[in-house]
């Protein structure tokens, strides 16, 4: 339960970090909105992959 909560919090923090960083880069003119959105998808997707792999592997261990 505590681990789940920790992962959820990390996920939220990561989302805020990605949004803030991309927003800043758009504001500074480094990225346009289209690229920022694409990067957002990539970064969130990567996070989900990592999270899924970690939780999945632990889940298998737990089941065994």
């Amino acid at each position: 339960m505590a681990r789940e909560e920790a992962l959820k919090t990390i996920g939220r923090g990561y989302a805020l970090l990605v949004i803030g960083a991309l927003w800043y880069l758009v504001q500074e003119g480094v990225l346009d909105l289209g690229k920022a959105f694409a990067l957002f998808l990539v970064l969130i997707g990567l996070y989900l992959i990592v999270k899924g792999s970690v939780v999945g592997s632990h889940g298998k261990e737990g089941a065994g």
């Binding site: 909560e5 919090t9 990390i10 939220r12 923090g13 805020l16 970090l17 949004i19 927003w23 758009v26």
Partner: protein, 359 residues
């Protein structure tokens, strides 16, 4: 799960509402919002990692702190999402920040000349019981960021020049409109002058409003290119008001007054305590005049309308009425010859009506 989401959304909305109530200027977009969100994200992630290894009590405290930070992060995102597009839209709905400047001082002379050239904004001159003058200028800056607005305000402070010359005090309000797009600024100027003062006015606005209230005006030149000129309870010796596109509304007494609009309306109510001649003209629009119905006040009307009607009270004496397409009327109140106060109206409208009422 759904209940939890509802509670979280509710907390964000309440926090946002409270912030906007307490500090509405936060809606003006700030450069630091994105970095603040990113930093909050980092902090929340760190708390998440700490929660995984900390004892249960500390984990609970970390969780509460992380939740609070998440709320702050979302509030900043919503402020940015709402504030940034508004800032880009700029005038008239963009977030504006006001800066107020007040100058005041004693008036040595009874005659005061006031000169204001205000490109965009409202200029109001009013009488008060004090023996001092006061100039209150509100600068409104529409800028993308808060910091930019403050920089603009710093370099665009109004300058109030007060000089004494030839027995009169000259007050000149100098406004600087030079800004680079997308910044937009307006100035609202309010000048308070003593009731006892004899005032000369030179007020010009390109887009905006000129207002004069309760003053004794010796000489006035009022001009609004696009906008409105409003006079209330004014007594004038010589007054000239011109609006290219807009409206002139006046309640006054004048010895000589001229009101002219190219496109728009002239609405004048004459108080009738002094004799005077009023010239009222509109190229496309209407001239409406209300004169007092008093036994000691006589009115004579000379009106021309090329395409339109001329209306005046039925009991007036018609001296002349001619023309079918272009109408010219000369009429007067029955008491005009013996009246102590004589008012002469000279109205001219190219396309539109002239209406004179008495009451």
């Amino acid at each position: 799960m759904a209940r939890k989401v509802l509670v979280e959304v509710g907390v964000v909305l309440v926090a946002l509402g409270v912030i906007l109530l307490v500090a509405p200027n936060l809606l003006a977009y700030r450069d630091v919002y994105p970095l603040a969100v990113a930093c909050i994200g980092l902090a929340v992630m760190s708390l998440g990692f700490a929660m995984a290894v900390a004892p249960p009590r500390a984990a609970l405290a970390f969780k509460a702190l992380a939740s609070a930070l998440v709320v702050v992060g979302f509030v900043l995102i919503v402020l940015g999402v709402v504030g940034a597009p508004l800032a880009l839209l700029s005038f008239p709905v963009g977030p504006g920040r006001s800066f107020n400047y007040v100058t005041s001082g004693p008036l040595e002379d009874r005659v005061v000349r006031l000169e204001v050239r205000n490109a965009i904004g409202r200029t109001s001159v009013m009488a008060w019981d004090s023996d001092e003058y006061m100039v209150n200028v509100t600068l409104r800056v529409y800028a993308l960021t808060w910091e930019q607005a403050e920089r603009i305000a710093e370099t665009h402070k109004p300058r109030v020049v007060v000089e004494r010359a030839g027995g009169k005090t000259v007050i000149r309000v100098e406004l600087n409109y030079r800004v680079e797009i997308p910044v937009f600024i307006t100035y609202d100027v309010i000048v308070m002058l003593p009731k006892r003062a004899s005032v000369e006015l030179a007020l010009l606005t390109t887009t905006g409003e000129v207002g004069v209230e309760g003053l004794r005006v010796a000489e006035a030149a009022l001009r609004a290119t696009t906008g409105r000129i409003a006079l209330r309870d004014v007594t004038a010796s010589t007054l000239n008001a011109t609006a290219t596109t807009g409206e002139i509304e006046a309640v006054l007494d004048a010895e000589r007054a001229s009101f002219s609009v190219t496109t728009g309306e002239v609405n004048v109510r004459i108080i009738g305590s002094v004799s005077g001649e009023y010239v009222l003209s509109a190229t496309t629009g209407e001239v409406n005049v209300e004169v007092p119905d008093k036994p000691d006040v006589g009115v004579r009307l000379v009106a021309t309308s090329t395409l339109g009607d001329i209306d005046y009270p039925g009991h007036w004496v018609t001296e002349m009425e001619r023309g079918r397409v272009s109408t010219t009327v000369v009429a007067r109140t029955p008491n005009f010859d013996e009246a102590q106060v004589k008012i002469t109206l000279r109205a001219k409208v190219t396309t539109g009506d002239v209406e004179v009422t008495q009451g």
